[in-house]
């Protein structure tokens, strides 16, 4: 229906037809496998991550059911230990980051006024790797061979002597495999945001969500190698008899923890940061004003991204290292609260100075503030070594990080789903259903996780598959379980709401919220080329400002229509000055093939079929060589001397 709307005054009918011819994809099986459209890939990330979320959430419900009563026998300890490990691992690696990368993939090119990501094929490749790595890890569960060492997999519990079998091999190889996708995606985000911004979008006009995604991507670049190295070492220790973590042969078990948390703490912010970006992106539409203190929020994003690398030892405050060395990390962990405080008060100021339009996305933002502030307050407590030693590894910390991660990531993600659903599907959601979903989810969340503070303070350690009838434990565990089910019903309503919107929702206009960023100045859903005319940006809120808006309509110039091919614009890194027009790649099967070859490699490594692994590695090299092979061009175009 939205395909037949009148062309915008800027690009003529003929331009639109040519753009459609260059960018459009015919619906076919092949195009399903070969697409490089960031919007399709972004949607796939969202759907796949949601699927993994359902699996990890179901694991959690099983665990909560087991813990509802003392000494329950619903799950065996082996089953429980696999479930909690998969729950944590999947929520962090297979849900939170990919989900937010999905929003990033869909939105970053739209928000910066570009026609695709910088490396569309790499983007497709990243999705396939994520999908395969997720399936690789979940496939182990039905066989009872799922990882069982906790999501941070401390050695020596996870070495081959203490955990024989495939469990931890699935973990190490699965995360190494997945790391390829995350790294590829991050590089893509950085380069896209640096080079593909619309002309005029200097750094001070970059939407906060894009800042957040780029900061996240930089964190991945610097944090993920530590995890990859850790996993590689553990795999070598388990499979090939190296001794990195073996204290009897000059190894050290704390090396694992240092490397893991050098990754692990930034990873908390890798999860939360893009979600905070979502908050900054959604809020303006429902307060009718730009977020207060743009500079301060950018400061918060940048400084959190950096400081998060210097707080990792606070996860090791009970390991008995010198108190002085703890204090440097304690200081950083204390101060990192300040940028978060700045953001919270900037959002509060935005709400107090704006005019609130209370719709479902705003409700989820309110839920976010309540929950995330509580999680942040207990988080600041963990910065104090002495207090941390008492409550770490108890249910108090379980309560804390669920407040941070559900508050800081899931609430914004749900807000984002409702906010951008009209853009992505061209359909409006049902407001009443959404409100019910919010209230159930919000209530369930508080009822499920607040009591965990108490059971933790009452001395209940985490990761126990059952417990004796200690006073104060049984009641609060029962309450938590009830809350978990309420929360699940809330999420079910979200799902029903999305399905309902797609099937029955009324058609969405291009800009149902009067949003301020560029995605609202395209159709809902956007055409494959995103923008008939690439915008010229004049302010931080281009959709609210007349010159930016008219640059896509009556002030359009042919050098921003670029209908002669799959083309978009490069601009300069900091100031967003126009540089040149570039040709974007066509759809291709290479990304899928490359990901498949890697799947074969990791599967072969898992089952120790090394000849297959070598063959798969060769296949990987061949596919990359083919992918990057330069097209033959005429000499004059190349510029050859003789």
């Amino acid at each position: 229906m939205s395909t037949t709307t009148a062309p915008s005054p800027g690009a003529g009918q003929e331009d639109l037809a040519r753009l459609e011819a260059h960018w459009g994809e015919r619906a076919s099986l092949r195009s399903w496998f070969s697409t490089v459209d960031h919007k399709r890939i972004g949607r796939r990330y969202l759907v796949t991550a949601s699927l993994f979320f359902v699996l990890a959430g179901t694991s959690a419900l099983a665990m909560r059911t087991q813990l509802a009563r003392p000494e329950s026998n619903l799950l065996s300890p082996e089953e429980y230990n696999q479930l909690f490990t998969m729950h944590g691992t999947a929520m962090i690696f297979l849900f939170a980051t990919p989900m937010l990368f999905g929003f990033g993939n869909y939105l970053v090119p739209l928000m910066i006024g570009s026609r695709d990501m910088a490396f569309p094929k790499l983007n497709a490749f990243g999705y396939w790797v994520f999908l395969f790595a997720g399936l690789f890890m979940w496939a182990s569960l039905p066989f009872g061979a799922a990882p069982n060492g906790g999501w941070f997999a401390y050695v020596p519990l996870t070495d081959d002597r203490n955990t024989p079998g495939l469990h931890m091999d699935v973990y190490t190889l699965g995360l190494l495999f997945l790391g390829i996708a995350t790294t590829a995606g991050s590089i893509n985000f950085i380069v896209t945001a640096l080079k593909l911004r619309a002309p005029g979008m200097s750094l001070n006009r970059v939407p906060l969500f894009v800042w957040a995604i780029v900061a996240t991507a930089f964190m991945v670049i610097f944090a993920l190698p530590a995890l990859n190295l850790d996993n590689a070492m553990l795999f070598l220790d388990r499979r090939f008899g190296t001794h990195f973590f073996d204290p009897e042969a000059a190894g050290n078990v704390l090396l694992w923890q240092h490397l893991f948390w050098i990754f692990g703490h930034p990873d908390v912010y890798i999860i939360v940061m893009p979600a905070l970006g979502i908050v900054s992106a959604v809020l303006p539409a429902f307060t009718r004003r730009g977020v207060v203190g743009y500079v301060l929020i950018v400061l918060a994003i940048v400084s959190i991204a950096i400081i998060s690398f210097g707080v990792w030892v606070h996860h090791m405050f009970a390991t008995g290292l010198p108190h002085l060395s703890y204090s440097f990390f304690s200081a950083a962990s204390t101060i990192i609260t300040i940028p978060s405080g700045i953001q919270i008060f900037a959002w509060l100021a935005t709400m107090m100075l704006g005019r609130l339009v209370v719709r479902v996305p705003l409700l989820f933002l309110v839920g976010f503030i309540v929950t995330f502030v509580l999680g942040g307050l207990t988080g600041a407590m963990f910065a104090l070594t002495a207090f941390d030693q008492q409550v770490t590894d108890s249910y108090f910390v379980v309560a804390h990080f669920h407040y941070v991660l559900i508050g800081g990531a899931v609430f914004p993600i749900l807000a984002a789903i409702y906010y951008w659903l009209p853009k992505m599907t061209g359909r409006m959601y049902h407001e009443g259903l959404g409100k019910w979903a919010f209230w159930l989810f919000f209530t369930g969340m508080q009822v499920a996780f607040f009591p965990m503070h108490l059971s933790g303070l009452f001395g209940m350690p985490r990761r126990v598959y059952t417990y004796r009838d200690e006073p104060g434990w049984d009641v609060w565990n029962m309450v938590s379980t009830i809350g978990a089910y309420i929360l699940a019903v809330g999420l079910l309503l979200v799902l029903i709401g999305v399905v309902h919107a797609i099937r029955r929702g009324r058609p969405a206009p291009p800009d149902p919220w009067c949003g301020d960023t560029l995605e609202w100045s395209t159709e809902s859903p956007p055409r494959p080329y995103n923008f008939p005319v690439l915008p010229q940006v004049h302010s931080l809120h281009p959709t609210w400002d007349q010159p930016s808006r008219s640059s896509m309509a009556e002030d359009a110039t042919p050098d921003r229509i670029l209908a002669d091919g799959r083309r978009t614009l490069f601009t300069s890194e900091l100031d967003g000055r126009r540089e040149r027009v570039v040709e974007m790649p066509e759809a291709s099967l290479q990304p899928l093939l490359l990901a498949l070859a890697m799947l074969v490699f990791f599967t072969a490594m898992l089952f120790a079929w090394y000849p297959f692994a070598v063959a798969a590695a060769v296949a990987v090299a061949v596919i990359i060589a083919w992918w990057l092979w330069p097209p033959r061009r005429p000499e004059e175009e190349l510029g050859v001397a003789r």
Partner: protein, 343 residues
């Protein structure tokens, strides 16, 4: 229509305003009232945990105040700043954000950080040179307890004299564990290949429950221990019992039980002082009859559970390293009688 719609909302919103504070109030009430009997960090029995409990209450009240502040602002905005006025507003009042978001938190955090340093320094000032020392070794999934200079050992239970600081040396025989007695002292991890030290101090006599706090595999859930704080004389009696051979059997049944123990498979893993059984794979059983539980907190220590445990520990504590024992049905009561007599 819009107005009616708006009027409908305050009623529906009320729960949101109350949920947070209500939970906080509920928390305060339960924290203050409900701690009898549970190993609660807020019911400290000695200096170490008492410091942390005090620190917690400071942190709690600061957090409550900050949370209340945020809620007031949020609710104020939701009540007074809603409307259908769709004009876009600009302007960047940075001062409010800088003061409320950075200035005030900085002051609070510096104070809190200082308190944290003070308490960490207090925890770091351990017992004196000649304080009693106890050695605890973590095993999958039980605690071995020894005293330097004394040959004997016990499991999942250690005694300390009331009012004195006792040094605890921590080692692990396998994976990482964490030594945590919530009412006495924060955690210290047991690190493979290294020795760690902590200390315990109890102001009042009593029994304090502890549990392994670092995930250590299948039966991490059942790796509890008890710290018994008692007057100095009783502590010394415990030391003496630890040094002495186990109680000799007195009845015929106990004697048969001892024989079954020493000649059967039990002695392959366990020790009982003075019987010639001296294996160190499983816990030393010389005082097993007086212990508070079987399987490091898995089940209470009574004849019925003991019998069940011997016949098949895997139903009680699945994954435990003790295999089912082929004890014949006639010998079992003797074995139970003997083990129950070891006090």
């Amino acid at each position: 229509m819009d107005r009616a719609h708006d009027l409908e909302h305050p009623g529906r919103r009320r729960p949101s305003r109350r949920v947070g504070p209500a939970l906080v109030v509920a928390a305060v009430l339960t924290l203050a009232g409900c701690s009898g009997g549970s190993p609660s960090t807020l019911d400290p029995g000695g200096t170490g945990a008492a410091r942390i409990a005090d620190l917690w209450w400071v942190l709690f009240w600061i957090s409550a105040a900050v949370f209340a502040e945020v809620m007031v602002l949020l609710v104020w905005a939701l009540v007074f700043r809603r409307g259908r006025d769709t004009r876009v507003r600009h302007g960047q009042p940075l001062r409010f954000v800088a003061i409320a978001g950075a200035g005030v938190p900085l002051v609070i955090l510096v104070v809190v950080y200082a308190l944290g340093l003070r308490d960490l320094a207090a925890l770091g000032a351990g017992p004196g040179r000649d304080a009693p020392t106890i050695e605890v070794t973590g095993h999958k999934w039980w605690w071995e307890v020894r005293v330097p200079g004394i040959d004997g050992a016990t499991a999942n239970e250690l005694h300390i004299p009331v009012g004195e600081r006792v040094r605890v040396r921590l080692r692990t025989a396998d994976v990482l564990h964490s030594f945590w007695v919530p009412q006495l002292m924060p955690k210290t991890d047991l690190i493979a290949g290294e020795m760690r030290e902590t200390w315990l101090h109890a102001e009042r006599a009593g029994t304090y429950r502890g549990q392994c706090a670092e995930y250590c595999g299948t039966q991490h859930a059942h790796m509890a221990l008890q710290v018994i704080a008692e007057p100095r004389s009783q502590f010394e009696a415990w030391l003496a019992r630890l040094a002495a051979p186990a109680r000799q059997p007195t009845t015929e049944a106990e004697r048969r039980g001892q024989q079954a123990f020493v000649q059967g498979s039990c002695a392959g893993c366990h020790a009982i002082r003075g019987t010639g059984a001296d294996a160190r794979v499983g816990p030393d059983l010389s005082d097993v009859g007086s212990r508070w539980s079987i399987g490091a907190g898995a089940v209470p220590n009574d004849a019925g559970h003991l019998g069940g445990w011997i016949v098949n520990p895997q139903t009680v504590k699945p994954g435990s390293y003790m295999p089912p024992q082929p004890v014949d049905a006639q010998r079992l009561p003797d074995l139970i009688a003997y083990l129950r007599s070891l006090e």
